[in-house]
Subunit: 242 residues, 2 copies
DNA sequence: AAGTGGTCTAGACCACGTC
DNA sequence: ACGTGGTCTAGACCACTTT
């Protein structure tokens, strides 16, 4: 149980890795409680303090959520508190209101050069492409084009999407067992083209935020690539630097 | 030494607060080592573990930096590793190269409505306004207009700025004793007006990123308000979501 | 060898939620 | 009353840096 050498890894990180395995293999599912710290300490044959340190890091990475007196739970995008965790768009005036996701199209295709690279799949491998808008108080503010690996998201169709009211990631997690844990966004300013200007109800040439996102699941595996165009007339993208 | 009631605060948070005081009062200065955990444990009359937990949080907030075997140090914007910590602009191709800050103007003024609100000062209180560009390999990519409370930044002039080669925040910290620890950015897409288009060498109407930032020092006190316009032809704004 | 932060343990007790 | 996470302690030992 003592760490060995070449590249030294402390015990609590080894425990952490074992716990990530349990998450990845769906032994512990989103929204459920994991075993108590005492149980885990027995199971891994370490002290409670060591388990605590592993959980501390997993909680800091938003993989787990601690609740004093109740237990430790697997984070879920279906939990209202982290439902739109990855959406940084905020109304200029007025309070935060949850947007409504409205699907436009959904079709199957083969991965082009860029999609293949971003998703880490073969050129020509099946992908599902989804276009949708986000509406704040029924006004369209964002239009997204989303690329998903067909292998993982088999069975994702317009029908499936239309029956939903939560966030897309909540659906992915509940229906396809894919939990999004981290993303990287590349943001630019672009001019609205003809098609987008109609979708968002702005004039052609209006400056828009272009937000390209690659989203990762356990093990830093990319499982979504999307490009969003955000109208920032009455909203802004909020970022906290620290 | 035990925590008392109404709103319960654990011991390590009380220690943390005392340590923030030492930072704020410049007892411990940027770049310097703070006392060892042992010394602090004696000084505060708690165990080393409790001090450790306080330091853990301060390190997580980037106020302190731990260095195994050497000690714990006050974070500094003059440290190359965190020199442009708040700049999220990255070249589309090519490696990260540090930009050069080129001051354009610097003058004194009285706080207008918005500046007063953002900086938490009186309407009409003295402010210093600074315009500058950021150049990547000598091409201007960003133009900033920066508002600073005159009270704190007395003596900031073009001459002072021109003698500098590090980051602005490094200068603020070394020369004015103001350490920036946190910021909030509001990002929009806008069209370049005549004046900005000339400064950045783009055509009028080019979509640009508008980045409004309020920056805070210890105690969540706002001490800078700025608006930057970023040309995203060959760069993008990078944001990590987690 | 000495000093620093980093890990690990074992045990006591506190705060919170549920039964 | 009980179980959960949260705090605090004291001591041993490890890993890294400097002298």
């Amino acid at each position: 149980m003592r760490p060995e050498s070449p590249t030294f890894s402390p015990l609590y990180r080894q425990i952490k890795k074992l716990m990530v395995n349990s998450l990845q293999s769906a032994e512990w599912r989103p929204g459920q409680a994991i075993p108590s710290e005492q149980e885990l300490a027995l199971r891994f044959n370490v002290s409670q303090g060591t388990v605590r340190k592993a959980i501390d890091e997993l909680a800091a990475e938003n993989l787990l959520v601690r609740k004093q007196g109740k237990g430790t739970f697997v984070a879920s995008h279906n939990d209202p508190r982290s439902m739109f965790r990855f959406l940084r768009l905020v109304p200029t005036d007025g309070e935060l209101v949850h947007p409504q996701s409205v699907p436009l199209d959904c079709w199957k295709a083969k991965a082009g050069n860029e999609a293949a690279r971003m998703l880490g799949i073969e050129l020509g491998a099946p992908v599902i492409i989804l276009r949708r808008t986000l509406r704040f108080s029924s006004k369209p503010v964002v239009v997204d084009e989303i690329y998903l690996p067909g292998e993982i998201f088999q069975g994702l169709t317009m029908e499936v999407l239309q029956g939903e009211q939560g966030s897309l990631y909540g659906l992915f997690e509940a229906r396809f067992g894919v939990r999004m844990i981290r993303a990287e966004e590349h943001i630019r300013a672009v001019a609205a083209d003809r098609m987008v200007s109609e979708t968002l109800g702005v004039s052609e040439g209006t400056p828009l935020l272009s937000v390209e996102r690659v989203t990762y699941t356990y093990g830093d595996r990319p499982v979504e690539w999307r490009r969003g165009l955000y109208c920032t007339a009455e909203h802004y993208y909020l970022n906290e630097l620290s």
